[in-house]
């Protein structure tokens, strides 16, 4: 890669648009089409829908969908269910993200060292991630329902009402479930990042007299910082979209909406109640908020990197 070849002044027009190897654009085309069809177009459509009294109609049917301006947004900001869902996302992220980062980092470090049954453990942590949520929810119902294993162990110390119908505990249980379910993926990201830390750094730390804990905080944590940024952003984005858990684990966002999520609300409003325009407005607000949080993370982490 020479400096001369990358100089813009010598490029032909085609190269200016598609780079030094225009065929690369061809290779990227399938993904570009995929991205436009499944991300950009639906996002654009959602923004459009959110300004209309939009509802889904039969194929070929001509129906009137009046323009309503910001009415859907005004309704969303005034809706107590939306506020409750926003609070729930905040609770979820506050529990899920730090826990995911801490557990994934510690587990990855452990699984990276020479421990017995390492392959078994690596697979074991990954299994929940690739197993269908519905199946995993059944396991958690068996654990956390009123007569479940956890309450049987706790006996009189079990909360009343039980975990999943307790307005205080429902969200933390959902956050724990999501953390556990996704953990395998984040452990994998950290395992990959750990391969990039040179052994010499650990050796040098040992020569300086650092123990296991000191080496973890002084070498491992800074060494995987980029992975941490990625994990934090991904965990936030994935977390803010939680749906299966309140839908199945707490019976439709119960008790009394204490575990309702924005995406569940979108489903209720858009699909069940046929008010797709309003659901789209909630979705757009959610996307903007998640984007803002992700950008804040990047700003914070990258400033620390600088």
């Amino acid at each position: 890669m020479s400096a001369i070849a990358t100089s813009g002044t010598t490029r032909r027009p085609l190269q200016r648009v598609f780079g030094r190897h225009p065929i690369g654009a061809l290779f990227a085309l399938p993904y570009a089409i995929f991205w436009v069809a499944l991300f950009a177009w639906p996002l654009g459509l959602a923004v459009y829908m959110s300004f209309y009294d939009y509802f889904f109609a039969a194929p070929g049917a001509e129906v009137e969908r009046p323009f309503v301006g910001l009415a859907n947004y005004v309704q969303a900001f005034g809706d107590p269910s939306v506020r409750r869902a926003a609070l729930n996302v905040a609770i979820f992220i506050l529990i899920n993200v730090p826990l995911t980062v801490a557990l994934a980092m510690v587990l990855a470090t452990a699984l990276n060292s020479a421990i017995p049954f390492r392959t078994f453990f690596r697979a074991a942590y990954y299994v929940p991630y690739v197993t269908a949520s519905v199946a995993m929810v059944s396991v958690w119902l068996w654990l956390f329902s009123s007569g479940g294993l956890v309450n049987q162990i706790l006996g009189a110390a079990a909360p009343d009402p039980s975990w999943l119908v307790n307005s205080f505990w429902a969200m933390p249980i959902i956050a724990l479930f999501a953390t556990w379910k996704q953990l395998g993926f984040y452990v994998l990201l950290y395992l990959a990042a750990l391969q990039n830390i040179p052994d010499t750094l650990y050796e040098a730390a040992m020569v300086d007299g650092a123990g296991v804990v000191r080496r973890f905080f002084a070498v491992t944590v800074p060494g995987v910082r980029q992975a941490t940024t990625l994990v934090v952003i991904l965990a936030t984005i994935v977390g803010a979209n939680f749906f299966t858990e309140p839908y199945l684990l707490t019976g439709g966002g119960g008790p009394n909406g204490a575990s309702v999520s924005p995406v569940l609300l979108m489903y209720q409003e858009g699909i069940e109640q046929g008010d797709a325009g309003y659901a789209a407005a909630i979705g757009v607000v959610l996307a903007v908020v998640v984007m803002a949080i992700s950008l804040t993370y990047r700003f914070v982490f990258e400033r620390e990197d600088a």
């Binding site: 509802f55 039969a58 007569g147 439709g252 966002g253 119960g254 008790p255 009394n256 046929g274």
Partner: protein
């Protein structure tokens, strides 16, 4: 909603369709008309909701399985208490406490229909449930939940089939699931008790619609008539035990009811059913009701009477203004 989406054909456009629907299903069929007076659905089959009870559990709890005391609210409560106190089942009855809009069709609505002699949740654009009868139904279920006679959490499977509850509130479609249970069925309770032949309930009916995308509508309509003919309705009944929406079932299919006497009471009950009101904003209305039910009745966080009145006001706004 399908109608707003221009997804369904008004069956009135076919010759003699209205006569066919009304002759087949008889009295009460006007509940299936939409607000514009048209039939966008052909009422097909019903599952009149009744109280199923586990005969063995009743006997074990010292209750008479041949004449279970379940006719009045007081009897129902005492029976429920006896069942739980005797330890024969974890719960006396276990309707789903989940928050989906339709769940109130299987706890509140059958009892409301019975108490009011067949009223719908809303009539003439006004909520009907905040009156004395509706509130009494709410109070009854509130007591059931407060005293731990029903589960506040969804049962892991089918509570009645799995022996976790001694009663279920469901239609005859569930009989196939209750293969291993020696069950009996009675009409839902009413405040002071009523003869069974006067008790109304929720229909849990299913209708057939004709999609507007259908290209051969006349053929489709002919097929609809063929598949709901007397002969084919009889086959449905025979194969599934589900009740076709047809007048005088016992008189039309005497052989079937002679061979299956337990089904006779469902056929009889099918003559007194209430459908969910066919109004715009119906799902939003039921979700509003369900949210209130969850707060005031299942979790007992609000006063039942006040909550019912507030929900009625809210629902009057929804059905008055359509979906926002």
């Amino acid at each position: 909603m399908f109608q707003r989406q221009a997804g369904l054909v008004a069956l009135n456009e076919f010759e003699r369709a209205v006569e066919y629907i009304e002759e087949r299903s008889g009295e009460g069929v006007e509940q299936y008309q939409s607000a514009d007076g048209q039939y966008y659905q052909l009422p097909w089959k019903a599952n009149p909701v009744m109280i199923f009870y586990n005969r063995a559990m009743f006997e074990e709890a010292g209750l008479d399985p041949d004449d279970p005391p379940l006719a009045t609210y007081d009897e129902f409560l005492d029976t429920a208490r006896a069942l739980v106190e005797s330890g024969v089942a974890e719960a006396a009855i276990w309707p789903s406490p989940e928050s989906q809009f339709f769940q109130s069709w299987f706890d509140f609505y059958p009892l409301f229909a019975a108490a009011t002699g067949g009223q719908q949740l809303v009539e003439d654009g006004q909520a009907q449930f905040a009156g004395e009868e509706g509130i009494a139904v709410g109070q009854l279920w509130r007591t059931i939940y407060d005293e731990g006679l029903a589960g506040r959490e969804a049962a892991p499977g089918d509570a009645f089939a799995d022996g976790q509850s001694a009663m279920a509130i469901v239609g005859p479609w569930a009989i196939a699931v209750y293969d291993d249970v020696d069950w009996g069925a009675v009409p839902v309770p009413t405040p002071e008790g009523m003869p069974p032949e006067e008790v109304y309930t929720f229909s849990d009916a299913k209708s057939i619609g004709l999609y507007s995308s259908c290209e051969n509508r006349t053929t489709a309509w002919e097929f609809l008539q063929f598949s709901t003919s007397e002969e084919n309705d009889g086959l449905l009944l025979e194969e599934t035990g589900q009740m076709p929406m047809r007048t005088d079932l016992p008189g039309t299919y005497p052989d079937y009811f002679e061979a299956n006497p337990t089904y006779e009471q469902f056929a009889d009950q099918a003559a007194r059913m209430v459908e969910v009101p066919n109004v715009e904003g119906s799902i939003e209305m039921w979700q509003t009701f369900r949210d209130m039910w969850s707060r005031a009745v299942i979790f007992g966080e609000e006063d039942v009477e006040t909550a019912f009145q507030q929900a009625a006001e809210e629902i009057n706004g929804i059905i008055g203004g359509g979906t926002p």
